[in-house]
């Protein structure tokens, strides 16, 4: 049973990644609302976490990074750090994006892409 799940997890992780990417990307391009776009982007980035999480399982690296002596067997803390970094980056991206959206809202009074476009083109004429 465990083996089965392991199989499922390890062979289908790429599919999950791809699925999430597709979903995120779809939301990203199909929505005119900038906030929804950011949601799509977040989902898109989430696919990375999935990839790295599944990778962590494959590599089987587990916690500590205390290096007792250079000769000791060195347990690999990397997948953790990588996932975490990727998450931080994702959140930072989303934060900057949201900050931009707030300022766009202030400047245009809307966060809908087509309305912004309309406002700009009207101003142009």
């Amino acid at each position: 049973m465990n083996l089965l799940v392991d199989q499922v997890v390890s062979s289908y992780n790429y599919w999950i990644v791809i699925f999430l990417m597709m979903v995120g990307f779809y939301i990203l391009i199909s929505r005119g609302n900038l906030i929804k776009k950011l949601v799509g982007l977040s989902i898109f980035q989430t696919s990375v976490f999935m990839l790295y999480i599944s990778m962590g399982r494959i590599t089987g690296g587990t916690a500590p990074i205390l290096l007792d002596d250079p000769g000791a067997v060195y347990s690999n803390p990397l997948p953790h750090v990588l996932i975490l970094t990727a998450i931080v980056v994702g959140i930072a991206t989303t934060s900057v994006g949201l900050a931009l959206v707030v300022r766009i809202k202030e400047a245009y009074g809307t966060v809908e892409e087509d309305e912004i476009h309309r406002i700009e083109t009207e101003k142009g004429h």
């Binding site: 990644v17 990307f25 990203l28 900038l34 776009k37 982007l41 898109f44 980035q45 696919s47 990375v48 990839l51 790295y52 990778m55 494959i58 590599t59 290096l67 250079p70 060195y74 690999n76 990397l78 990588l82 970094t85 990727a86 980056v89 930072a92 991206t93 900057v96 994006g97 931009l100 959206v101 300022r103 766009i104 400047a107 245009y108 912004i116 700009e120």
Partner: protein, 492 residues
């Protein structure tokens, strides 16, 4: 201290950035930014000298030996990129003071310099590190601060431009980090030198090829390779002038560097060109980019946007060089990397001067400026000629090697396209020149004076470099050639 230069190169600006934010005082923040950029320049020149004298440098962060810890590795290729980035920063930072004061809200100025230093640190980090995941982290540091910098432009369209850049940039970064993850899953290492050793053993697996694809698309997005350039024109157009000058001269160049580093050092020229056929894709995209974007540039009325499209075309030249898959072609790429930074930096700085005085960079608004701002417009003419590729400017050097590379391959039509698009560059540059010199200044009695010295001096300094490295290109060519040779022969 000198042995720590590889890390200090990145840490100094990184450390100064929060100070800029903390002091909450525009002038002080600016002083910090200038100090940061100048020290970065100092360090990078030192590094370059060391590398040229005694070969590559390796620095173990945390004192852990390379495969385990993060390694910073400086060789002939990235030492040049470091010099390039920090040179431009050292020119833009002094320039920014007056320009930013005019274009950015006072309360946001400390934030501006903080983001500027962060962006600088990120770009330097990408170039300096020898760890692929670190590349991603620095890429994001530089990108996020770039989004912030762009959003500080006066026009509200700066916000939407920054948003779009954020979306496309993040997609690119995600592709890159997926590629890195796949490589890591296959090899269990993130160290570039390690990867370069291990990838050939597993080069025929599908995962490696998929990773290659992800990485390539990610880099294409980041370096604004046609048709993934859509974020660039608006971002450059609406960003504050100093930001445009800085980003145009550095950000895409560093992205090109990443592409070179990954495709040639990590995967190896043989894999990239023989297996993945990178050269064919690049050739096609580059040719289309060069031609179509030059054409589009001709029809622009906003000069910043005009130069932005020109940048996309010029990036095409760099990629074209790579697509030759030869030492000469790669030399052209590296030369143009450096040279284009000099010319576009200078030209966008000129536009900053113009915006400073007349508040617009519309081609009509620039009418008659040749008389009102003679030094500024002279700088534009000089920079423009460099862009066209007139002899004694750096532009000529790049073109020369590109054509030489094309002829080496026997690709006559490609050489022809390089030349014809140079003429197109002449056309779009000349439209601005005509407006400045052949049209009457529209607002008769209004006093428009020459740009202030603090803006002109850095601008002309870059123009001077354009000419200096055009007349005395031996050193750049030598460096580019040896770097190109190193990249091409890294693994194959």
């Amino acid at each position: 201290m000198a042995e720590h230069f590889p890390i200090l190169q990145v840490v100094v600006p990184l450390l100064l950035a929060p100070f800029c934010f903390l002091v909450r005082h525009g002038k002080v923040a600016w002083t910090l930014a200038v100090f940061g950029s100048l020290s970065a320049l100092f360090i990078s020149l030192n590094l370059l000298a060391t590398v040229l004298a005694s070969g590559p440098l390796s620095y173990a962060v945390g004192g852990w030996p390379p495969p385990f810890g993060i390694e910073y590795r400086i060789d002939a290729v990235n030492a040049w990129v470091l010099v390039l980035v920090s040179t431009v920063a050292a020119m833009v930072a002094p320039y920014a003071q007056a320009s930013v004061e005019r274009e950015v809200e006072a309360r946001r100025i400390p934030l501006f310099y903080a983001a500027f230093l962060l962006c600088l640190a990120g770009l330097l980090g990408i170039a300096a590190t020898g760890d692929v995941f670190n590349v991603f982290v620095f890429l994001e540091i530089s990108s996020l601060s770039a989004y912030a910098l762009i959003s500080l432009g006066q026009d509200r369209r700066a916000l939407t431009a920054a948003f779009r850049y954020l979306v496309m940039g993040s997609i690119g970064a995600t592709f890159i980090v997926i590629g890195i993850g796949l490589l890591y899953a296959m090899t269990g290492t993130l160290n570039m030198a390690d990867l370069a050793e291990r990838i050939p053993e597993i080069a025929d697996t599908r995962t490696v090829k998929v990773a290659y694809g992800f990485l390539a698309v990610g880099f294409f997005l980041k370096l604004a390779l046609f048709p993934l350039h859509l974020w660039l024109p608006n971002a450059y157009t609406f960003a504050p002038s100093a930001v445009t000058a800085f980003l145009a001269a550095t950000a895409t160049k560093v992205a090109v560097y990443m592409l070179l580093r990954f495709s040639l050092t990590l995967f190896g020229a043989a894999f990239s060109f023989d297996v993945m056929r990178l050269d064919r894709i690049l050739l096609l995209l580059a040719v289309v980019a060069i031609f179509s974007m030059s054409l589009v540039a001709i029809f622009q009325v906003n000069v910043k946007r005009l130069l932005a499209y020109s940048s996309v075309a010029q990036i095409g030249y760099m990629i074209l060089g790579l697509s030759f898959a030869s030492v000469t072609g790669l030399t052209a790429t590296l030369l143009h990397l450096f040279n284009h930074a000099l010319m576009k930096g200078a030209l966008f700085m000129v536009l900053g001067c113009v915006a400073y005085r007349i508040g617009s960079v519309h081609i009509d608004a620039m009418a008659g400026l040749g008389k009102r701002m003679p030094l500024t417009m002279a700088a534009f003419v000089a920079g423009g000629l460099s862009l066209v590729g007139v002899p004694l400017t750096v532009g000529f050097i790049s073109k020369w090697y590109l054509i030489l590379g094309a002829l080496e391959k026997g690709w006559w039509p490609v050489a022809g396209i390089v030349l014809v698009t140079s003429v197109m560059a002449l056309v779009y540059v000349w439209r601005v020149v005509e407006s400045a010199y052949f049209r009457e200044f529209p607002r008769g009695d209004e006093k428009v004076a020459e740009a202030p010295f603090v803006l002109l001096a850095p601008t002309w300094a870059l123009i001077f470099l354009n000419v200096y490295f055009g007349i005395n290109a031996g050193r750049t060519i030598g460096a580019a050639e040896s770097a190109a040779r190193m990249l091409m022969e890294a693994v194959s």
